[in-house]
């Protein structure tokens, strides 16, 4: 019996690991959206983070530099989005799409020389505790430092948005940029900062994939996770804690379908692989059904262009 329990523990540990990129990217995007900016470039920023993290790891042989570098690259590429939407007042949806297309192309261009190189082992914490404690061991221990950070992040984000002054300012800007501006808040500066923060988190999410989760570089390796992260923000009705829950559900579906494939269920592999995407649609439908509930939580100015007459 203790063996079975331990297996369930390992399964939960795997679910947690597969939800990390979603938590990181969705938490970053949540802050961006709370300031009223809809950045659909999550997938592009993630894949740029994935390749730059991996490339830096190969070049410098230093995992710390690789992780920091991936965040900086995510941030740099989000500057493009910031300049376009905030300074040149472009449409958020179209600009985000351009960012994704550009990011996927750019990552493949950079990544050409990194295909087939094996990754490096990422240090995991408390490995001996993981092996010695049944059930709880594989759940709580033996993870990378990024996983612990990811699981802390939604709580930090929640505190930041609700209890700090800057959090309040971000929400004010998202709900009514005009009144915020009249109060003397620099709307454009707040939004720029939130966009850059979102970019850095997406970069980190990408690096988690290429350095820890599947340590190698594969073209298009994010495989739609950026879009699922976007859906998660809606699913969570812009609440950080619900992002965590949602990400765990999607991590669960991913791991479940992988196990069903491994066990050899008589269901086509492709149908199982489609499960996370189909579930995303179903969950979105269920959540969005009540339009009042969505409207109540959506940042009022989400995706709208704000222009201050000088």
């Amino acid at each position: 019996m203790s063996f079975d329990l331990n297996f369930i523990g390992i399964l939960i540990g795997a679910i947690m690991a597969s939800s990390v990129p979603l938590i990181l990217a969705a938490s970053g995007e949540l802050i961006t959206e709370r300031s009223g900016v809809l950045n659909l470039g999550v997938e592009g920023m993630m894949i740029i983070g994935a390749i730059s993290g991996f490339a830096l790891m190969v070049i410098t042989d230093n995992l710390f530099l690789a992780v920091i570098g991936s965040m900086i690259s995510g941030l740099i590429i989000s500057i493009i989005f910031g300049v376009l939407t905030q300074s040149l007042l472009t449409n958020h949806v179209a600009t985000g799409l351009a960012l994704t297309i550009f990011g996927i192309g750019m990552s493949a261009m950079i990544g050409k020389n990194f295909v087939g190189i094996p990754g490096k082992e990422f240090p995991l914490l408390f490995v001996n505790l993981k092996e010695n404690i049944p059930f709880l061991g594989p759940i709580l221990f033996g993870h990378s430092v990024i996983l612990y950070f990811a699981f802390l992040l939604p709580f930090l984000t929640n505190y930041f948005l609700k209890k700090t002054k800057i959090g309040l300012i971000i929400r004010a800007v998202g709900d009514s940029p005009t009144s915020a501006s009249n109060q003397g808040i620099n709307v454009s500066l707040v939004r720029y900062s939130c966009i850059l923060y979102g970019g850095a988190m997406c970069g980190l999410a990408g690096a988690y994939l290429s350095l820890i989760y599947t340590p190698q570089w594969i073209e298009n390796m994010t495989g739609g996770r950026g879009w699922i992260a976007l859906a998660l923000v809606v699913f969570a009705t812009w609440s950080p804690i619900k992002v965590l829950i949602g990400a765990l559900i999607f991590g669960g579906i991913t791991i479940l379908q992988l196990h069903m494939q491994a066990v050899g269920f008589r269901i086509p592999v492709q149908l199982l692989s489609a499960l996370p995407y189909i579930m995303t649609i179903i969950v979105l439908v269920v959540i969005s059904r009540d339009s009042r509930k969505i409207k109540l939580n959506t940042p009022t100015s989400l995706g709208q262009i704000f222009y201050k007459e000088k």
Partner: protein
């Protein structure tokens, strides 16, 4: 001194000149990227944009690629004009291809003039039905159409994968993930011997003309444009918003489905895993570059098709990955959106006044 002023009205000349500015900026940006990769920028750009269309075969390839791009973008323009963000045209293309391909396999070995029209029509219906999923969910269940249409792309890709590996795979195909080659009666007629350009281009041109008629000469087109400009006005005028959303999605899904069926009955001739090099996504750029205008979209599709060909040529001559094309496509859209600033603002270069020195 630079002074920025808001324009009161947008002059039509600037509206169609900024796309050209965006293309030049993209060439410049591309040159910088090639330089950074260690190539001679001018030579690399020549390989990218001139070598591919320097002979008749290359020009025919340009039209082969522009045919689906233009068709999908025309469909998308209906959605985008009315503020409906259908970004899953790639999925609608693939689903259209699946339905059309299924019918083509059903008619395997049949001869007759009726075979191809039935296949094409079923492909269009397939794309249309697939596009109705996000439309219906948006109108009746308030679900975000961006995310649903995008998620369905992955679903369509996996469905295609399942079919060509499993039930529809070629019985004599040594387990390759592909169907039989369609019979001759199920193939788009080739227009010139030795070139790949096929009759699908007529479908595209007819669709362009029809969409111009609908957009500029019918009440529906007027409704679409008004809803895009102001949702409140449209509601006030009493337009049935829900019906219109479903109609624009149906139009764009049908166009994407037609593009898919055109590809599999045209240059490909069977179903396999990769029936589209992301035409459905690239067509979004085509639609914007063409200013959501039928004639503009024709030109835009030729330019964007050139980035596909250029990427292939550059892959051979410069050993850069084919994804380079996507970098250029992303840049075009960045620069295009950015240069739209000039539509709404005037930048005045004033001389320095003496008292400011």
């Amino acid at each position: 001194m630079i002074k920025i002023e808001k324009r009161n009205d947008v002059s039509p000349s600037i509206y169609f000149l900024t796309p050209i500015l965006a293309i030049f900026l993209t060439l410049f940006g591309g040159g910088i990227i090639f330089y950074a990769l260690g190539f001679n920028p001018l030579e690399a750009l020549k390989f990218f944009f001139i070598t591919p269309i320097s002979d008749l075969y290359g020009f025919s390839e340009l039209l082969v690629k522009a045919t689906p791009l233009c068709l999908i973008a025309i469909g998308l323009s209906f959605c985008f004009k009315s503020n409906n963000w259908n970004i899953g045209a790639e999925g609608q293309l693939i689903f259209g291809g699946i339905v059309g391909g299924g019918v083509a396999l059903l008619f395997y070995g049949h001869d007759g003039f009726y075979v191809l029209p039935i296949i094409v029509l079923s492909g269009a219906i397939g794309g249309m039905i697939f596009a109705m999923i996000p439309a219906v969910l948006k109108t009746y269940l308030n679900t975000n159409e961006i995310l649903v249409s995008l998620m369905l792309v992955y679903v369509a890709k996996l469905l295609l994968d399942y079919l060509v590996v499993g039930p529809w795979s070629n019985p004599e195909g040594f387990n390759f993930p592909e169907t039989r080659q369609f019979s001759e009666s199920a193939r788009m007629p080739i227009l010139f011997d030795g070139l790949r350009i096929h009759a699908g281009i007529f479908i595209t041109l007819i669709t362009v003309f029809l969409s111009w008629l609908i957009l500029y000469k019918t009440y529906l087109g007027f409704q679409i444009k008004v809803s895009g400009l102001s949702l409140k006005t449209a509601k006030y005028a009493g337009y049935k918003g829900k019906t219109m959303i479903i109609i624009v999605f149906m139009i764009s899904g049908a166009c994407a489905g037609l593009a898919g069926v055109g590809e599999i009955t045209g240059p490909i001739g069977q179903l396999h895993r990769n029936i589209s090099p992301d035409y459905g996504f690239t067509a979004i750029i085509v639609a914007f570059l063409g200013r959501l205008n039928p004639v503009g979209i024709i030109f835009a599709s030729l330019i964007v098709a050139l980035t596909y060909l250029g990427a292939e040529t550059a892959q051979i001559f410069l050993q850069v990955p084919k994804y380079t094309g996507q970098v250029f496509q992303g840049m075009i859209l960045f620069f295009l959106l950015g240069s739209d600033y000039l539509l709404f603002f005037k930048i005045k270069f004033l001389g320095l006044k003496k008292n400011e020195l």
